[in-house]
Symmetry: C2
Subunit: 191 residues, 2 copies
């Protein structure tokens, strides 16, 4: 029975990659299940400032508030690397590599402290692709993490070695997209 228990509670390293939609939205949907279980959830956004997630952030902030005021669900920590409080374009002139590394250092700290049970490393594949973060170091940290700490990594172009290290990998494959026929992004759907 202990073998079954271990399997059921195995820490998952999950990757959402591919050219299609749904990589981040599926990660944030997964976070709802974690929240409902009372798990601590950490969101770490490795994105340029223009592509952050205001809708998801508003909803997660509300869910965290529910947890703090009623005890329902779990706590949610949300860290955006680089967007800052001065506005969406605040990071265009700053060092993306330094921001990525500062953000990653936060993830390393939280994993070492076993702060959360679910980590959403949103768009982590972007600084990996740019070479702003060292893939060897990231893989070391993610694969030797202690305890039961689930990690979801999103972003197109997941490195092959990350895919090999992961337990669950989904490729969101674009079949059809309205931008292809000239439509533009809209609030409530794209952000």
């Amino acid at each position: 029975m202990s073998g079954t228990r271990e399997l059921r509670h195995a820490s998952r390293l999950i990757v959402h990659t591919g050219e299609g939609k749904g990589k981040s939205t599926a990660a944030f949907g997964l976070g709802l299940r974690a929240w409902a279980q009372g798990w601590s959830v950490g969101v770490f956004q490795f994105v340029k400032s223009g592509s952050w997630r205001p809708g998801e952030h508003a909803a997660y902030t509300a869910l965290d508030e529910i947890h703090r005021t009623t005890g329902q669900g779990g706590p949610i920590e949300w860290l955006t690397m680089g967007a800052g409080r001065t506005g969406l374009r605040a990071t265009q002139d700053v060092d993306q590599q330094a921001l990525s590394r500062a953000g990653w250092a936060q993830v390393v700290d939280r994993l070492a402290a076993q702060t959360h049970r679910l980590y959403i490393l949103d768009e982590l594949n972007h600084p990996l692709a740019k070479g702003w973060l060292d893939l060897d170091e990231v893989l070391d940290v993610l694969t030797i993490r202690a305890g039961v700490q689930h990690v979801v990594v999103t972003g197109r172009g997941a490195p092959q070695r990350l895919i090999e290290a992961a337990d669950l990998v989904t490729d969101m494959t674009k079949v059809k997209h309205p931008f292809d026929k000239g439509e533009r992004g809209q609030a409530g759907i794209e952000w």
Copy 2:
């Protein structure tokens, strides 16, 4: 400019299909953006009772409560076809086709009344594949819907004609899944 506005606010028919994970979770993640915009969101679950979404349901219920008590976000309606209040296995002995049709009738009513701005038709592809719902009728209703009403249909095996009718289609492609190596589902991740 009106052309641009129309394009930006175009009603989307979105399909999440494929064998991989993330079809429903991405739909529920999208619902967070809609909620944050103050949109009315309707969730209609066309699933057998064992596969409903307790985590997402708890989180959406909390978000709807926030809307009703503080005005933040939008209202959320959640209808589960067949699960009923007597327990998860209540539908095993009832007529799945009748339940599917009753659920679909609710969707038809809401679309006619323009009740919601986002509809999550979770696992609608299942009763379509089973023939419990008529594809022609479903396509007629979804393609002639009035106003700006976005619809997300989830489930593996989306009918080709639904894919053709949709604006945005993503195939969640399984690259790797822990069940393949003997792991089992766990709360917080699979439900």
